[in-house]
Symmetry: D2
Amino acid sequence: MTGIDGDTSEDIAEAICLKGGRYLEAQVQGSKQQANDGTLVILAAGDRTLFDDCQSCFKAMGKNSFYLGEVGTASKMNLVLQLMSGVTLAGLAEGMALADRAGLQQKDVLEVLELTGLSCPLIIRKGKAIIEGGFPTNHPLQHMQKDLKLSLNLGDQLEQPLPLTASANEVFKHAKRLGYGDHDTSAVYIRARF
Amino acid sequence: MTGIDGDTSEDIAEAICLKGGRYLEAQVQGSKQQANDGTLVILAAGDRTLFDDCQSCFKAMGKNSFYLGEVGTASKMNLVLQLMSGVTLAGLAEGMALADRAGLQQKDVLEVLELTGLSCPLIIRKGKAIIEGGFPTNHPLQHMQKDLKLSLNLGDQLEQPLPLTASANEVFKHAKRLGYGDHDTSAVYIRARF
Amino acid sequence: MTGIDGDTSEDIAEAICLKGGRYLEAQVQGSKQQANDGTLVILAAGDRTLFDDCQSCFKAMGKNSFYLGEVGTASKMNLVLQLMSGVTLAGLAEGMALADRAGLQQKDVLEVLELTGLSCPLIIRKGKAIIEGGFPTNHPLQHMQKDLKLSLNLGDQLEQPLPLTASANEVFKHAKRLGYGDHDTSAVYIRARF
Amino acid sequence: MTGIDGDTSEDIAEAICLKGGRYLEAQVQGSKQQANDGTLVILAAGDRTLFDDCQSCFKAMGKNSFYLGEVGTASKMNLVLQLMSGVTLAGLAEGMALADRAGLQQKDVLEVLELTGLSCPLIIRKGKAIIEGGFPTNHPLQHMQKDLKLSLNLGDQLEQPLPLTASANEVFKHAKRLGYGDHDTSAVYIRARF
């Protein structure tokens, strides 16, 4: 249940099925908090009967599970969502850095943001982490960078240009280089600010 | 009440105050829908007495108005928020384009996204506009590009690197070049996809 | 003698050496013109005795051959040089596109450029190809994009941020998507201009 | 004779001509070394008779002077060339940083590069400055960043996307933020490497 690319998932599926096994690819979207609350989102693909058999297990982990089709689909869906989260977080970090330089109070930015159409749990949570500055790990920064890299590989295979994702990947990579790979994704702020 | 930069606002303030007038800088965050619903967010800065005098007027437009301090502050706050929205939308467009190329259903992406921490009115609304493909103007794309440009100018003055914003600005500029300046910001998808 | 990454080269070397063979990694820098003139540059790494044995062959191809050390070194050197060429060409294409939009004559740009410190055979040759607009294949665009991708992979392994390379890769990928993969690298101009 | 944008040049021209004066816009391309050698390139536009009258003066400074047409043309030509130089230098810095991380000798990179089509005085000179690490000022980094910014403004006016230039501008801005504004342009390597 870790983020991998669709091709790897297909290779695993083939190996298992050749031995007579059943394979269900499953990806999880959600934070540590959502894991504690049992509100994770499960993205599954592959063997439909195995998906049905896993229902009680999935129910315990999250309220929602999706069966998306053939093996590889769940991984791709996960990468698309990670790409969006990664770009959004890198943008949040830039905005917060600019706010600070411009003499604005970052808590004011967040207070206003909460009243706009951009208000979502991820942005608010990460915005607070940026203000507090501790970056306790909810989702490790290096996992996000790995997912951005896998998204770019998928884009490369499909000849799909992804300039924002490429830019975000470099920024997260730089944060990793600066020693924040094991910190929370919100530590991308360090790279944006300094 | 249109998006301008802080310096321009300060120049206007000076001209008005020299003639004995009072100046209140006011920026609005919100969509056409929020305007209809009277839930716009008003960001004001400058003359505090004028802000107080305008309260009944602001109340009619939006539930929330903020007094942020000296002239220029409201413009800067607005640019920070526009930067975050612009980067997020360009990332949404890239994700939706990649999903389409990868054979995923875009409505599935949005359905899953609604259950994650990234679910916010802006992303859901623009995601639906991308799926429908009509791009009726809620917020003109060229206004977003102008705001991104002003954010970059602010970053330049303050020596604040903004790689994601710079990348988003080029993408919105390209969409404008392709003839989508008067369409909705969600038309940035056209540039991402083709 | 095609562009590959260092890891692949090491895998090949291991396979050959295990069977008792000798392996010399060899990369070539140069254009079709340089191949015709016998002035290619050969970058080699791996088995030193094999390098010495190949001297007469290398001499026929190019005036200069370098022995760089252990297997993988030649591939890495080649990727570093390709990265620089790719970024430079994407910058040339942007400059030529901006010149055209600004009403300048592109041949004037090239004439002035030839007198500056930036004058080099690659830029002059590709600049002329952009002006002529035919893009006959000297070095296929998709090979350049592949090399940029391999450079980014190397950067990823080494946690080295490469924002310009990442940006150039997206631009070349876009040109490939537009159908110019088999054309000359100078066709990246099409993406820059339209 | 400093780098400005075309609009500013036109404003100056108008002010001078209204008072009955003649105006010749003149931009210089070249390094401190070229200035000492009297091999600067002079780009001029505006009053043709004044250009002719200045010939003896221009001859003393450089071997080549170009008359490019109406006021603004010389500034635009200069920005196009600066854009190309800036992107190329940022690419050189990335390549040298990657080489270092990959365990290659930077002097080997430069030695090989000198034999390829990318060999030009600017790259070789700046490459040596990177290896030596002193960055004595030949062309101040902040001037390059200003020119990149002006190029982007020109691109914005003409709706010309310039993703590489935008990326290079952020990198030079970051180097300036790190305190290298007064150092040579080659100090952009510091940002690329750390």
